[in-house]
């Protein structure tokens, strides 16, 4: 037996020595990491605990910074709404390391505020029952007026009736989104309204997006939401929201908010005949057809600008943030970033307009946050504050709550920056010039497409998946663009690209090889 061990030792030793000399050993060790380009700075995070436990409570004597709303105030201060109902103002938040952060309570006694917006010099927040302006009349840094900006939507007392926002659009409307209740009890039903034709019961305007106009009127705008926990505007001032996978919602999705649109969930149509409704009442809902079929059968149904394929691009989409830093946050200026609750990460979205409607692609961006990512806010220096709280569900990051900041390291990651639809394929725009050989080889790319089922069940599998033949890959002269010509693209299908064969001019692999384009419309001509 001794002899056998010796032989094994010598063999292994040789093998290891050989490995250490092979060139690929070095390539492996320099494989790009997300942290090389975007660094997470922890301002504060809690201990781990069971976020679904019935008796969950924060550690005694600690400020439970379950960050549910963020607003950057100036070059030093950040306002943070927390779920227990307070707003805190943190100073010195840009310090790195953040060792001198101070905490000051600005407002309290709010009912689960789930958003915060600096608007016309004061903070706006969404409580369960109202949109509230927090005013400091005597300038002592503490709120002394809780002014009701809007109220009147249905609140039956069901826990799932979260209210999110506000977000301001290009005309000055303040948008909010209202969760559906889940499993209304009898006493809650008595506070709800019923559409007996569709057999749905919900509180008034639940599942709707509403606005408060600059004149102060509260108006319902669009419906079909299930759990719309994030709103955000792009640089043009169009406002978007994310929805979360569940009944009638095949996977997480991102939509442009606009009047008259219906997105997923029929429960919201409990309010469709109420005065002010922007949606024409319908008689029935198709249940169990594919999503492309559903859009034909149900004309009010508008496809999302972007589907976020389940697990591949998160499990529970939250906040939306546009990179408005003009390059201070890296090469993705003008793109949207979407928070991800369950996987404790952030995904990235590129949008383009085809025939007047937004559509585009999503990409994994950065993972590894300490808890569920609920809120994103870009700071004055371009870095991004990440508000964390996982209470009620679970997250990959084990902490219960906290605040982190994502800082660009000034290095450009090699990424697919944009994926643009073309009549016969896609155009990819990279953050850095590609190596011509690898990017012009069709074997460097793999493309499949799939759709979803529109049904009352929870989520949907990816259906009718199909591989597409890539006919050619042409690299532009500057090496930043690759034009893929692809056979038989399918409208209303998600097209999943894997470009793992592509290398940058420096020989780097892509930081993220996958992109997912929601091809609602194939453009008629080259753009």
């Amino acid at each position: 037996m001794v002899k056998r061990i010796e032989l094994r030792l010598i063999g292994s030793l040789l093998c290891v020595l050989m490995a250490s000399m092979s060139p690929s050993a070095r390539a492996e060790s320099t494989r790009p990491q997300e942290s090389d380009y975007y660094r997470i700075v922890t301002i504060t995070t809690s201990q781990a605990s069971d976020s679904r436990a019935k008796n969950w409570k924060p550690a005694p004597d600690s400020l439970a910074l379950e960050a549910s709303g963020l607003a950057a105030l100036d070059d030093s201060r950040l306002a943070v709404a927390i779920r227990k109902g307070e707003v805190w103002i943190l100073s010195n938040v840009y310090d790195d390391p953040p060792s001198k952060v101070t905490y000051h309570r600005f407002a309290s006694g709010l009912h689960e505020p789930l958003g915060l917006l600096l608007h016309q010099g004061s903070l706006l927040t969404m409580q369960r029952t109202e949109m509230t302006r927090l005013i400091d009349n005597d300038h002592d840094n503490t709120c002394d007026e809780y002014q009701t900006v809007a109220t009147g939507w249905g609140v039956t007392g069901n826990y799932h009736e979260y209210a999110f926002g506000p977000e301001v659009d290009r005309t000055g409307n303040l948008w909010m989104t209202l969760n559906l209740g889940l499993g209304l009890k009898n006493d809650q039903k008595s506070l709800a309204i019923t559409n007996s034709k569709l057999n749905v019961t919900q509180g008034l305007w639940r599942g709707w997006g509403m606005v408060v106009t600059p004149d102060g009127d509260l108006k319902p705008m669009c419906a079909g939401m299930r759990s719309p926990s994030g709103l955000g505007a792009n640089l043009e001032g169009d406002v978007f929201y994310t929805d979360q996978q569940g009944n009638w919602v095949a996977t997480n999705s991102l939509h442009q908010l606009r009047s008259g649109a219906f997105f997923h969930h029929p429960d919201s149509l409990a309010s469709v005949e109420q005065p002010g409704s922007t949606i024409k009442p319908i008689d029935e809902i198709p249940d169990g057809v594919t999503f492309p079929e559903a859009t034909k059968k149900l004309s009010i149904l508008k496809p999302p600008a972007v589907w976020l394929p389940y697990k591949k691009v998160g499990q529970s989409a939250t906040d939306i943030m546009v990179d408005g830093s003009d390059g201070k946050f890296g090469p993705f200026s003008g793109q949207l970033f979407v928070g991800e609750f369950t996987q404790s990460s952030i995904n990235r979205v590129f949008l383009e307009k085809i025939d007047g409607e937004y559509q585009g692609a999503c990409f994994p961006f950065r993972e590894g946050f300490a808890s569920a990512v609920l809120r994103l806010e870009q700071g004055n220096d371009g870095s991004v504050f990440v508000g964390l709280s996982n209470r009620g569900w679970s997250s990959l990051g084990p902490a219960s709550y906290g605040l982190q900041r994502l800082v660009w390291t000034q290095k450009i990651p090699f990424e697919i920056k944009e994926m643009r639809a073309q009549p016969d394929g896609f155009e990819l725009v990279f953050t850095k010039p590609v190596q011509h050989d690898s990017a012009s080889k069709i074997g460097s790319f793999h493309l499949t497409s799939h759709t979803y089922r529109y049904h009352s069940q929870y989520g949907s599998d990816e259906l009718q998946e199909q591989s597409h033949t890539i006919k050619s890959a042409e690299v532009s002269e500057d090496g930043l663009r690759v034009r893929l010509r692809i056979e038989s693209l399918r409208e209303l299908f998600v097209h999943s690209l894997n470009a793992s064969g592509v290398r940058s001019a420096d020989g780097e692999p892509l930081l993220h090889t996958n992109a997912y384009y929601t091809l609602n419309k194939i453009p008629a001509s080259d753009r």
């Binding site: 492996e28 436990a53 409570k57 006694g109 009912h111 009701t148 609750f341």
Partner: protein, 834 residues
């Protein structure tokens, strides 16, 4: 050159690790954990030892026996060529014991002519690569995060910690590179240390010492698996190995990925791969495709070598051999026990293993039916505990338990020293007497979690839960008590339960949790609903004398010499006290023990001291409802305002509110006032009078069938928010029709609430002339005395200042007392007392 230097250094470390690996885990005969632990070094052949080998080496898969010795069965190997690296699979089939030290899989290929063997190995690998690999479904949900390609995202450092903390090391090798967070001495170590000795010295002195436990060998992980296939295996081992010897440790996908990453990089478990290989194997096993003729040939060999006897495969029937009782046993015969047989599998047995198996088979042949059911049950428990290696963690009747080298790796979350029972898996002595059959079954199925403070996890043995639970109950049941445990308890009166609550406060609360609440810093089993787990008889016996049922327990006796330590409760009668505790612990509707209630309140009870506390929350519909603002005043007089109906909804004295539900409960329960002296005000709040004296109530109670919207339409009313004054008192603002109103509510003396209502704007003059706004108090029996004070049936009295216009209106079913709102520039004042 620097790179090379570190690589060489790494390889030296690796070689040291490898030496460690071989020394510790290498076994030159089949390794069956409990056999190694209890019998391998015993001199005398043992029948039970042989029986364990008969099932664990799958002897009875070919040699039929009665149901008492079922073969454990092998792994599901359909598609295993797509789970394992085919090179590993081929080398394993070629010589299992050499490829995996201690493998219980026999050598089979020698049964083929030598010239055929290489081809047969290729063919078998091809056949086993024909189907897709069997994998568990991974269902992602809000409660179960599953990152894309999670198996690539494992963190070896985290994996190493988990591996050493959740219980893997009870069976598998410890990595010396990992140090436990804190070395906690076991009770035995403490005693030995008190003698000035070390464990190793005990045996030298001829004393009975806890025996070291050899780890169950693993294959060289990275030779065999990809990160993906290993992660999938760790998430649901029973999918691949239905025998359940490797149990599920309830790993979430990312946890499995962490452990896989660790096992891949740890020199204790893997050899580092060269990087050319790594780039291909990290994500999945990428083996070349196979051709059909080889697949067909492989299937023929699979049948010929009777592989299906242990590895069920669709379309292939097992081939049975002589029954166990017909076997002739002789080492010289050409059977499975010999190492030279050319026609039967070779197991590579040690001579001791041969002797034990021989003894077991011989006694089986002349086996007489044991007539003592108790003995049968006890033997069955021991047998199952050996087969499933329960003994690796649990002691029973002095046998087994966590081995001395492993003690330090069992910790609780806060490293609190509460003795062995606060960190080591519990002993299973008389467990069938203690726990109900249902609960035992639940625990074995991984659903009965009462020790959340343990870092180690109770694994899942779902397929054995029923049999094992039944065996424990049959072995340990005390006949006379089962009936008394089932006896309905007719003494659960309120008084008895209240006594139980006081008793809990007087002792139990120092260590035990109750309904998820515990005193700060204490960790202990939650005693709520103990009757769903524990038999009444055991509960009483344990309370009377804990040490008699659990040696070294830190549970103190509260009844020394049978006398209660708390004589003032239930006359100190031990029997009645235990009765009352039992009743309280199993009651659903009793309040928390006072000390727990207080400790919970300390964090969450809102106690206004110098300033008012204002909190928006849900309240009951009979109170301020879904749009409530509750205000607690330092005078300990509090009120709730309904911002939807614009009315003072409830007033109370004493304690204010517990905010835990509002602040932190996912299900957002309605907040309930803590004070006992509560008054709910009537629904009606304002009335509008026209010039003809007709009035309309601004709000009415919702009637059945009336929709929210219809209510909203009653009158245009709008809550506008509140301001706080310099003392922090809220001033509510709202509008009704064209009236803008300011409403201040504050404490009046120390026994009431004073409300000042002021109309700020009245809209246009024409409307002012036509409409008058009145505040309304309604009750079904209002009386007004000479001073103008109104009494209602709910002990509430209301009055306003002299000179303010009031009127009394009867309109079925109530009487309405009304106060004119616009009589004074500085508003009207109304005082509520009760």
């Amino acid at each position: 050159m620097r790179v090379h230097f570190t690589s060489i250094l790494g390889s030296i470390i690796f070689v040291l690790g490898l030496t460690f690996f071989d020394c510790h885990v290498f076994a030159d005969h089949p390794f069956v954990a409990s056999y190694e632990r209890f019998y391998a070094t015993k001199e005398e052949p043992d029948e039970l030892a042989g029986q364990v080998l008969l099932t664990e080496l799958n002897c009875t898969a070919c040699h039929p026996m009665d149901a008492s010795l079922p073969s454990k069965g092998g792994p599901v190997i359909t598609g295993s060529g797509n789970r394992f690296h085919r090179a590993w699979l081929r080398s394993y089939l070629s010589s299992p014991g050499q490829s995996k030290s201690g493998s219980t899989m026999p050598h089979l290929i020698h049964q083929l002519p030598e010239s055929e063997r290489e081809m047969a190995l290729d063919a078998l690998v091809a056949f086993l690569s024909n189907d897709p690999a069997v994998e568990p479904p991974i269902v992602a949900s809000g409660a179960n995060p599953v990152a894309h390609e999670f198996w690539l995202k494992g963190d070896a450092e985290r994996g190493r910690s988990m591996y050493h903390q959740i219980g893997c090391v009870a069976c598998h090798a410890i990595d010396d590179a990992f140090k436990p967070a804190k070395k906690t001495e076991s009770d035995l170590e403490r005693k030995i240390a008190a003698l000035g000795l070390e464990i190793d010295e005990l045996e030298e002195m001829g004393l009975a010492a806890p025996k070291k436990v050899k780890p169950v060998p693993m294959s060289r992980i990275s030779d065999k698996y990809s990160l993906r296939s290993l992660s999938m295996f760790l998430i649901a081992p029973h999918v691949i190995r239905p025998a359940g010897r490797m149990p599920s440790l309830k790993l979430q996908p990312h946890e499995a990925a962490d452990i896989a990453a660790y096992l891949f990089t740890s020199p204790t478990h893997s050899k580092p791969r060269n990087d050319n290989e790594k780039s291909t194997v990290n994500s999945s096993v990428q083996n070349a495709s196979v051709d059909q003729s080889m697949i067909d040939a492989g299937k023929r060999y699979f049948e010929k070598l009777s592989c299906a006897n242990c590895h069920p495969m669709a379309g292939i029937k097992p081939k049975m051999s002589k029954s166990m009782k017909e076997l002739t046993l002789s080492l010289n015969s050409n059977g499975c026990l010999s190492e030279s047989s050319k026609t039967t599998p070779r197991f590579g047995l040690s001579s001791k293993q041969v002797a034990d198996i021989t003894k077991a088979i011989e006694s089986l042949k002349r086996k007489q039916l044991n007539s003592d059911p108790k003995k049968i049950a006890l033997d069955q428990v021991t047998m199952m505990m050996m087969q499933l290696n329960c003994f690796a963690c649990h002691e029973r009747d002095g046998k087994g338990g966590v081995g001395p080298d492993q003690w330090a790796y069992f910790e609780n979350v806060q490293q609190v020293d509460i003795g062995d029972e606060g960190r080591l898996p519990p002993p299973l002595d008389h467990v069938g007497r203690k726990l109900t059959r249902d609960w035992i079954q639940k625990v074995i199925e991984g659903k009965g979690e009462v020790r959340p403070h343990f870092l180690a996890r109770m694994p899942i043995y779902a397929d054995h839960s029923k049999a094992l639970a039944t065996a424990f109950v049959n072995a340990d049941r005390i006949e006379s008590t089962t009936s008394s445990a089932a006896k309905p308890n007719n003494q659960t009166s309120q008084a008895i339960q209240t006594a139980g609550r006081e008793l809990f406060d007087s002792g139990c609360v120092q260590c035990h949790a109750f309904r998820g609440e515990s005193l700060p810093g204490t960790i202990g089993i939650d005693l709520a609903d103990v009757g769903t787990r524990i038999h009444r008889e055991w509960f009483e016996a344990f309370l009377r004398n804990p040490a008699s049922l659990k040696k070294n327990t830190r549970m103190p006796t509260f009844f020394p010499d049978g006398k209660s330590a708390v004589p003032q409760i239930l006359d100190g009668d031990a029997t009645r006290q235990i009765e009352s505790l039992w009743a309280y612990l199993n009651a659903k509707d009793q309040p928390l023990p006072l000390k727990l209630e207080q400790s919970s309140s300390q964090s969450f009870e809102l106690i206004p001291t110098d300033k008012p506390i204002i909190i928006r929350t849900f309240m009951d519909s009979s109170s301020a409802g879904t749009h409530a603002i509750a205000v607690g005043l330092p005078q300990q007089i509090h009120f709730a305002f309904d911002t939807k109906r614009l009315r003072l909804a409830e007033i109370w004295k004493g304690r204010f509110l517990n905010a835990q539900g509002t602040w932190f409960d996912r299900f957002a329960p309605a907040a309930t006032p803590l004070g006992t002296n509560r008054i709910t005000l009537p629904q009606e709040s304002f009335a509008l009078f026209d010039q003809d004296g007709n009035f309309q109530l601004v709000d009415t109670a919702p009637e059945k069938g009336q929709t929210e919207k219809q209510l909203e339409n009653n009158l245009q009313k709008k809550f506008l928010g509140y301001r706080t004054d310099e003392r922090g008192m809220p001033i509510f603002r709202y509008s009704i029709g064209r009236f803008l109103i300011e409403d201040r509510i504050q404490a009046h003396d120390d026994n009431g609430v004073k409300r000042r209502l002021k109309i700020l704007t009245l809209g246009d003059g024409e409307l002012k002339a036509r409409e008058k706004l009145w505040l309304v108090i309604a009750d079904d029996a209002i009386e007004v005395d000479q001073s103008g004070t109104v009494s209602t049936r709910s002990k509430l009295t209301v009055r306003t200042a002299e000179g303010i216009q009031t009127r009394l209106v009867q309109r079925q079913p109530a009487t309405y007392w009304m106060v004119a709102m616009d009589d004074r520039v500085d508003g009207i004042e109304v005082v509520y007392q009760w």
